[in-house]
């Protein structure tokens, strides 16, 4: 059976949220580091053409996705405390992010790169401490790219949020009781959804909001994204 969050956990959570609200109730807009990062074109296997980040056409969906996922990776680097030595570009129609490592190898794919960065930063605990935990983290990383990354994903946003809301009902983090890479990437992925939600909907998906608010309080996670204000008190208590 699912058990709701214990009283003490919830209390601890509320306290954190409260503190966070007190200290920073304003939206933050971080400039992107991408503009100063050097990009080199690199040759790749495969028929897909390689685009460097800045030369892509700007109006397509995939471009926006690419931009978002590259910013996301840069933010993750920053969160992990990595030195800025990584070069990114994108590849193919879908603008899949590509990381060129120091030894000239290419690592392709958002989740693959993110996992690589975590390992490079020696923060493997973010990938789960046991085999089970690691599987659960991987599950939500995949969910992130399949469910939140695909074209048209936004239209299905409400059912996605409903599912996530159900899942998070009795959890503090996506992995359960520990912070993982899944939380960080889900946070980046869900940010635009949360921005679009009305105050009423943020209340409706209360567990997602609680989790989201918690993650954005964590030091160094928020980075390039503006803060989403989540009300502490419910105001739509009798609206369906």
């Amino acid at each position: 059976m699912r058990t709701p969050l214990s009283y003490s956990t919830a209390l601890a959570l509320m306290w954190r949220i409260f503190n966070g609200l007190r200290s920073s109730g304003f939206p933050l807009y971080f400039g992107t580091r991408l503009s100063s990062a050097p990009f080199t074109k690199c040759s790749l296997r495969g028929p897909e053409q390689v685009h460097s980040f800045r030369t892509s056409s700007r109006d397509t969906f995939s471009f926006k996705m690419a931009e978002a996922s590259l910013k996301e990776l840069v933010s993750l680097e920053k969160y992990l405390g990595l030195k800025k030595t990584n070069k990114y570009s994108t590849q193919g129609e879908r603008k899949v992010p590509v990381l060129q490592t120091k030894d000239g190898q290419n690592i392709v794919g958002l989740v693959t790169i993110a996992c690589h960065l975590v390992k490079a930063a020696k923060q493997e605990q973010l990938l789960g401490r046991t085999r089970e935990e690691s599987a659960v983290v991987q599950q939500w990383l995949e969910y992130r790219i399949v469910q939140l990354g695909a074209p048209g994903a936004k239209e299905e946003g409400r059912s996605t949020l409903r599912d996530l809301n159900g899942y998070l009902e009795d959890k503090v983090y996506f992995g359960g009781d520990f912070l993982s890479l899944a939380d960080i990437l889900m946070y980046y992925g869900l940010h635009s959804y949360m921005v679009d939600l009305t105050v009423q909907d943020r209340e409706k998906f209360v567990n997602v909001s609680r989790w989201f608010s918690h993650i954005q309080q964590l030091p160094n996670v928020q980075q390039h994204l503006p803060r989403v204000h989540i009300m502490k008190n419910r105001i739509y208590t009798n609206v369906h």
Binding site: V108, V111, Q139, S159
Partner: protein, 896 residues
């Protein structure tokens, strides 16, 4: 650990291969494609793996990865990369290709669409020169890619068409693992690609992810074209022309209904409603109504069906209620039994027998089971400390004691829980306990009780459960609750109570004791059947020939899946045990819970007073049936569903079809000459009909209702597209076209009336009367047959449904709304005494709150109608406040 797969699901292939390859041990359960295994996902997602820590993995790649990265060594970046590529690039392409190959028989196109992906793999393999994708050892990446490609590459024709040497070698290398062979044989069972058909038909065409609206949202699916093969269309046309004469006749029901040799004998029980209160809508949908739909469906399928229910009447709560109302327990039972049967009659439930538990037979059967358990050593004796009141000369049930809370010193704590601090209390720990009835101080006394030795029966229970869960149709929540009960370990359970109102324990030293309601109540199913027929044992001691379905809300599951089966297994009398356990989740009211004490929600006896017909209630409750997840009753949604689904969709279609016949063809069904479009429609309708039958057979009541609405939606489109009213004025061919369309439509309406019968029996009968449909058509088969042939005379057509108006529903919402508590207040309410809004202060507060709310709504630019209704409430509250402040006799202001 438990792995859930579905048959003919290509995603399951790699998972099964990975499972075999890893040598892991876990249970594998085959479920249907629609089964929602993962509790938090609003749609079905298979395969799924339940981990030992209770978490679910629900994507094939993650499960493969889990199986194949044993002992903590994380998958390498190369494996990660392949898996990510497979998820985002290969899977959508492969699904599209499979669709082309299987559903449209375009194999070469399918292969072509796969080319870029295949050459990508080929080049990677050539470049690395390794035996497998990432190294010389197989990894999760190999199994995953092999699994996705297998259905497309395995057939020799396809493979030779591909000129990829490294890929072919790799593909055969992976395929030659015994694990992969076993998995592919198991998935395709020699039927090749065709075994994937039913899975692929269910996948949405435009997107790669299967998502479906959940809870109360309107149906959005099925706008897309269903792919029908020529054979399906031909078969549908043939069935259509068969005529009613060739169809099976409806079964004659002769009481008493008894199991028949060689037939499908279905015994249906609905959880026995407790007699101390009027049932609310949640109770009604949870058991009685759901069971009724299924029972009616079984009868339409010509299965030999018995549906029994009754009121559960023994126990403390009845005694308490009797004391409250100043009646004897028996009088209370008589009173409420009558209320209950009246309510269910109004809702049109088709019990074959509605009984009660306070009967001779109950005593007889309960004591028989008790003796058998006792003789076989399955009962234990133990003493329990309890409070005893001398003046009342009885042991006090927890709710009959009050005292000072041992934790927070609250003076009016109850025997089971303190209202102030909310802690659970053991009644003997109360300070200064008082008998609630006579205020005497009770003394602690020990009392002897009997316990059912569940641990001793655990082995038999698990053996039985294993086969039953495998074969039976248990809802996921029922499986889950049962498993977690057994996992937590079974303890002996007390089966006796110090009460008077119950089945007496037939032992001298236990005089003055009765059986505990949870030992006693399920026996009610047996005793109620025994009151229906003397030959009740033919149903209840006949496990080989009878299929038993239990319907209930999820809180009742453990008693039906663990405790009661243990009693019956221990009694060793060849009892019929539950085969299919159907449990619903909870139904909420608007945004909160139903609450009798706060007057929130609609209760069975009030439904009638709303002026809304019983069938509309049935429809809406079944439409939002909490199947798979909690749902909510919502007035505005009721209005929406009535006006959109019933009035505009179903009612409109049936009415139009009927009106065309009576207006344009003098009330006689015209001659029909089917063209391709009509044939397609027949096949489409047949497809929906079969879907409906399959879903109802699995007791997916809410989903099956969608099929009915889909058929009438197709019908409406068909009429709209062909415009018979215009063609009537046209050429001969146009007129014959109009005739055909009308004829097909009226027959669809007739089919709908039969399919609708389990859900809306009165409406179904009304349609059949209007169409003068032959009573013989009331059988459901897998075929859509023309039962109203050309020349058939129909009756008078009139509208089936009435529009619900916003004001009308808003008034009802106000009437049944109670005081909407906000969340904080609700929490308080659970822990402190029930707060009743009754003085000026609280009214003033309510006015202030409501004012704030209105301001907020306005500020957010909420819809005008919503704002207005809230303003109306504000005004009402203000008026009440003024009244309360005024000098004249202050009326106690209860919540509206």
């Amino acid at each position: 650990m438990r792995l859930y797969v579905s048959e003919g699901n290509p995603q399951c292939l790699k998972v099964l291969a990975a499972y075999e390859l890893s040598g892991a041990q876990c249970e594998v359960e085959v479920v249907s494609h629609e089964e929602c295994i993962v509790p938090f996902l609003g749609h079905s997602k298979l395969p799924a793996l339940l981990l030992d820590n209770g978490n679910f993995l629900f994507s094939s790649n993650v499960i493969c990865r889990y199986y194949l990265t044993s002992g903590g060594d994380e998958a390498s970046t190369a494996v990660d990369q392949w898996l990510e590529w497979e998820t985002l690039d290969l899977q959508p392409v492969a699904l599209h290709a499979l669709r082309l190959a299987v559903l449209q028989d375009k194999k070469s196109e399918a292969l072509e669409s796969l080319q870029p992906s295949l050459s990508y793999i080929e080049r990677s393999l050539q470049k690395t020169g390794k035996t497998f994708l990432t190294s010389d050892e197989p990894s999760a990446a190999d199994v995953v890619l092999w699994g996705t490609l297998y259905p497309l590459l395995a057939e020799p024709i396809l493979l030779t068409a591909v000129d990829f040497k490294a890929l072919t070698a790799w593909f055969q290398r992976v395929g030659s693992f015994p694990a992969c062979k076993k998995a592919s044989d198991g998935t395709f069972k020699g039927h090749g690609l065709q075994s994937l058909k039913s899975y692929l038909q269910r996948q949405p065409t435009n997107s790669t992810q299967a998502t479906r609206a959940t809870t109360n949202d309107p149906t959005v699916d099925d706008g897309d074209e269903r792919l029908l093969t020529d054979e399906e269309i031909q078969a549908a046309v043939q069935a259509w022309s068969k005529g009613l004469a060739a169809c099976p006749k409806p079964r004659q029901i002769v009481h008493p209904i008894l199991p028949q040799q060689g037939e499908r004998n279905v015994l249906i029980t609905s959880a026995l409603p407790y007699v101390n209160n009027v049932p609310h809508l949640g109770n009604i949908i949870g058991c009685v109504l759901s069971a009724d739909v299924f029972a009616r469906f079984c009868r339409l399928r010509n299965w030999n069906t018995l549906f029994v229910c009754g009121t559960d009447e023994y126990g403390t709560a009845t005694e308490t209620k009797a004391m409250e109302e100043g009646l004897t327990p028996q009088e209370i039972c008589d009173k409420y039994n009558a209320i209950h049967s009246q309510i269910y009659r109004w809702f049109g439930t088709s019990f074959d027998y509605f009984g009660r538990t306070t009967t001779e037979k109950q005593t007889e059967i309960a004591q028989d089971i008790f003796w058998r358990l006792l003789k076989r050593g399955f009962l234990l004796e133990d003493t329990v400390e309890q409070l005893h009141c001398q003046r009342c000369a009885k042991f006090l049930a927890d709710r009959f004691v009050e005292g000072i809370c041992p934790f927070c010193s609250y003076p009016e704590a109850r025997g089971d829980q303190c209202d102030k601090c909310g802690k659970l209390i053991n009644a003997v720990e109360l300070k200064n306990p008082q008998c609630k009835v006579c205020k005497e101080t009770p003394a602690v006394r020990t009392s002897k009780h009997l316990f059912l030795d569940l641990p001793k029966l655990e082995g038999r229970l698990e053996e039985w459960l294993e086969t039953t869960l495998e074969k039976g149709n248990w809802t996921p929540n029922a499986r889950f609750i049962t498993r977690s009960w057994i996992r937590d370990g079974l303890k002996p359970r007390c089966i006796t109570r110090d009460l008077k109102w119950g089945t007496p324990v037939p032992l001298e030293e236990f005089a003055n004791k009765v059986f505990y309601v949870w030992f006693d109540a399920p026996i009610g199913y047996l005793s109620i059947t025994a009151n229906y027929t003397d030959q009740w044992e033919k149903w209840w001691k006949n496990p080989d020939k009878v299929q038993l379905y239990n319907f209930m809300a999820k809180d009742n599951v453990p008693f039906h899946s663990v405790v009661f089966p243990c009693s019956l297994l221990g009694a060793e009398d060849n009892y019929t045990l539950v085969n299919h356990l159907i449990a619903t989740e909870y139904l909420n009211y608007e945004d909160g819970k139903f609450s009798k004490s706060r007057g929130v929600g609609v209760f069975g006896d009030m439904a009638k007073d709303t002026g809304i017909p019983a069938d509309i209630w049935r429809f809406y409750l079944l439409f939002i049936r909490p199947e798979g997840q909690d749902s909510a009753f919502c007035w505005s949604d009721l209005l929406l569903k009535n006006n959109s689904e019933l009035l505009n969709n179903l009612g409109n279609f049936v009415n139009r079809a009927g009106m065309f016949v009576s207006k344009f063809f003098e009330g006689r069904v015209p001659t029909m000459e089917l063209n391709q479009e009509d044939q397609r429609l027949l096949a489409l309708t047949t497809w929906e009909l079969r879907q409906y039958l399959q879903l109802l057979e699995k007791v997916r009541i809410r989903d099956a209702l969608r099929c009915i609405l889909n058929i009438s939606r197709h019908g409406n489109q068909y009429i709209q597209l062909n415009e018979p009213w215009k063609r009537l004025k046209g050429s001969d061919t146009d007129r014959s076209r109009a005739a055909t369309v009308t004829g097909v439509a009226i027959n669809m309406a007739c089919l709908l009336s039969v399919m609708l019968q389990p859900y809306m029996p009165t409406v179904s009968a009304t349609i059949q009367e209007q169409l003068q449909a032959p009573p013989l058509c009331n059988v459901l088969t897998e075929e859509f047959v023309c039962v109203l042939p050309a020349g058939h005379k129909i009756g008078t057509i009139s509208p089936l449904f009435q529009k619900l108006e916003v004001e009308q529903v808003e008034a009802l919402r106000q009437r049944f709304g109670g005081q909407k508590p906000d969340k904080a207040a609700e929490k308080q309410e659970a822990t402190t005494t029930t707060t009743i809004l009754q003085d000026v202060q609280e009214l003033a507060k309510a006015v202030a709150q409501q004012g704030d709310k209105v301001r907020q709504l306005k500020a957010l630019g909420t819809e005008k109608a919503v704002v207005n209704s809230e303003v109306a409430r504000l005004l009402e509250l203000k008026k009440a406040l003024q009244e309360a402040q005024g000098k004249p006799p202050v009326q106690k202001e209860k919540k509206k």
